[in-house]
Symmetry: C2
Subunit: 346 residues, 2 copies
DNA sequence: TTTTAACACGAAAACGTTTTCGCTAGGTAA
DNA sequence: TTACCTAGCGAAAACGTTTTCGTGTTAAAA
């Protein structure tokens, strides 16, 4: 077992100073060709690589990005990470991942663990619990210590930082618009409780689409699911609630759900009730994932472009890290959504 | 913007030495109560936290685990990461993620990027390309430099390190056994090319199950898919191949697929051909993911317990990191699979 | 011969910690 | 008085780099 070789060891071995070794390896003109070749040959032989930690300490930069997301077993967040990793790697950065698991405390702890020099900046999406409690002091503290943050998808306006979002309202408005144009007269909405901003915005889009088509809002057609616990029980009760929705509103001929799973389950319920898709009832879900693509019938969705969001967020953060001198200007980048039409709509 | 405060600054401010500050904060008996209180109060006020990088350099430990996986937008790998992160966090470690994207070069580069002091050890699953080329020098080099590696799922015997795997052969044997016991007489196998070890082992399990039931192996019932490119085209051609399989083997009454997607697509093809599931034909897939659970009919699967694998791998690695003095002993932990019965089997 | 300039290299500081060792002042024992 | 002990603190090394500045040698110029 040969431990990693250091400058000091090379210096000792070749009977020169550490400085000389360092300079020789970086092809400094100060060093004679002889010495340079000798050092480089030795370094290559022993497979010398500069110690990253020492460099980080010296440069006060770690070339590492901290990413904190609520959940990783989730198609959208996984795609975002892929985007972040792609760009980070290309630009010479590493990615360190923390999971908040939707918990405020874990979010805070994770940030503290990383903010002590381990990383240069954060990319994150806020935990549900944090959104509910509306306690954002950990973000503000981090920012005030000079560590840049880029937020994506679940953001709050109160915090001044770069943001990457999609136009949730526009996306869902387009989706509902599509249903209405396809002839639906009674479009149901399956959404979440309002504290998650994206849920609220998507609901808003639904309402606006109806207004634009001069259709009245029927609150009986709106199902607000409490997604506190996404356990097995929750799925069962969700199915029951949707069942109930259909039973009480026999005229439903279109369904818009704020996520893919709700839409898939709604389709299942509809089929069980003998409804033909898309002839009797059409479906659109927000968030394009594996389920939508491989369900039968496949589900028309509003694509969120997770990977693109991740790429953009990483670019924003690294740009900021590498141009610290410039004056502070924060942007909010909006990624366009688009409707991926599949078999669940006409 | 208040930058992070250091020991030096506190020392200067309170007119004591750096050593005194350090000791006071660690409650050393060398320091008088007076000084200790003074320093601690000041540190609290300015929210002092030791710089992680400096600690890493000093201790030659980063308290960080490097994880390299082929793909993150993948239910199984995401679950593994969740397991790793869970244990790592609990034990005071961070997780840094690298994606090989199934490429040999990216795998090598990612490892080099991290092996230079950034992390204490690796948890990884080998890229397909690496398995194909059978070039494992980067693993061996890393190990010989004294950096422990734990491999999971896709492993190779040649490399001496801790491993966490499932019994692929037993898992698939059980699955096929289930189909045979359920009365299937012509069980088809949809698998991948042989270079990915798990594919080969799962095929082996299929064969053994048949043998145990004294059934002859019909090679026409085995479809070996080339999954080099998992693009759109690939999915289409996959569907065509399966279509062909059914057309040429009208007697097929059971299908075992080495992953969930193949099984889902096979179900789709079967249904298109007018076959009833599970009455006419039954299906089982390896790897339990979202698709299996929410498909209609839902798919019976062999569960891989990704999260448990991740947890075990992290525990193995951290144990090794924290007991370096002990003699080297490498274990291979086998996680039990189990059959999750759903609607696609009787 | 003396001055100058280029060349080649080394010493040391800095990044932020922890820890070992030594020092001083005051008190106690002989 | 002398010797010794102890409490309380500081200096310095170490982790592995990079970089600035200084220095000695040699050859060319005056």
């Amino acid at each position: 077992m040969k431990r990693k070789v250091t400058l000091k060891q090379i210096a000792k071995e070749l009977d020169v100073s550490i400085s000389t070794v360092s300079k020789a390896l970086r092809n400094s003109v100060e060093i004679s060709e002889d010495t340079r070749d000798k050092v480089q040959a030795f370094a290559k032989l022993y497979n010398y690589r500069p110690n990253n930690i020492a460099l980080s300490l010296k440069n006060r930069k770690t070339k590492t990005i901290g990413v904190i997301i609520p959940e990783i077993v989730h198609h959208f967040f996984a795609k975002v990470i892929r985007g972040i990793e792609l760009v980070a790697n290309k630009r010479g950065y590493n990615v360190i991942v923390g999971l908040s698991n939707e918990s405020f405390d874990k979010e805070v702890i994770n940030m503290q663990m990383l903010a002590n020099g381990s990383i240069d900046g954060f990319i994150l999406s806020i935990a549900k619990e944090t959104l509910q409690q509306q306690d954002y002091h950990h973000f503000n503290e981090t920012i005030s210590q000079g560590m840049p943050i880029v937020m994506f998808d679940r953001v709050v306006n109160d915090i001044v930082c770069d943001k990457v979002i999609i136009d949730d309202m526009k996306g869902s408005k387009n989706a509902v618009d599509k249903l209405l144009k396809n002839g639906c007269k009674h479009v149901a909405l399956i959404t979440t409780k309002d504290y998650v901003s994206v849920g609220r915005l998507r609901t808003q889009g639904y309402i606006e689409a109806l207004e634009e088509h001069k259709m009245s809002l029927d609150s009986k057609l709106i199902l607000k699911v409490d997604d506190e616990l996404l356990s097995e029980d929750h799925l069962d009760s969700l199915e029951a609630e949707i069942e109930d929705l259909f039973k009480k509103n026999k005229k439903i001929d279109g369904v818009f759900a704020v996520n893919e799973l709700y839409a898939i389950i709604a389709m299942k319920v509809a089929r069980k009730r003998g409804l033909k898709i898309p002839d009797d009832v059409q479906f659109i879900g927000f968030t394009d994932g594996v389920l939508s693509k491989h369900a039968t019938p496949s589900l028309t969705t509003v694509s969120q472009h997770g990977q693109e969001m991740g790429e953009k967020a990483a670019d924003l953060l690294i740009d900021k890290l590498e141009h610290e001198e410039e004056e502070e200007r924060f942007q909010t980048v909006v990624i366009e959504t688009n409707l991926i039409e599949r078999e669940s709509t006409k």
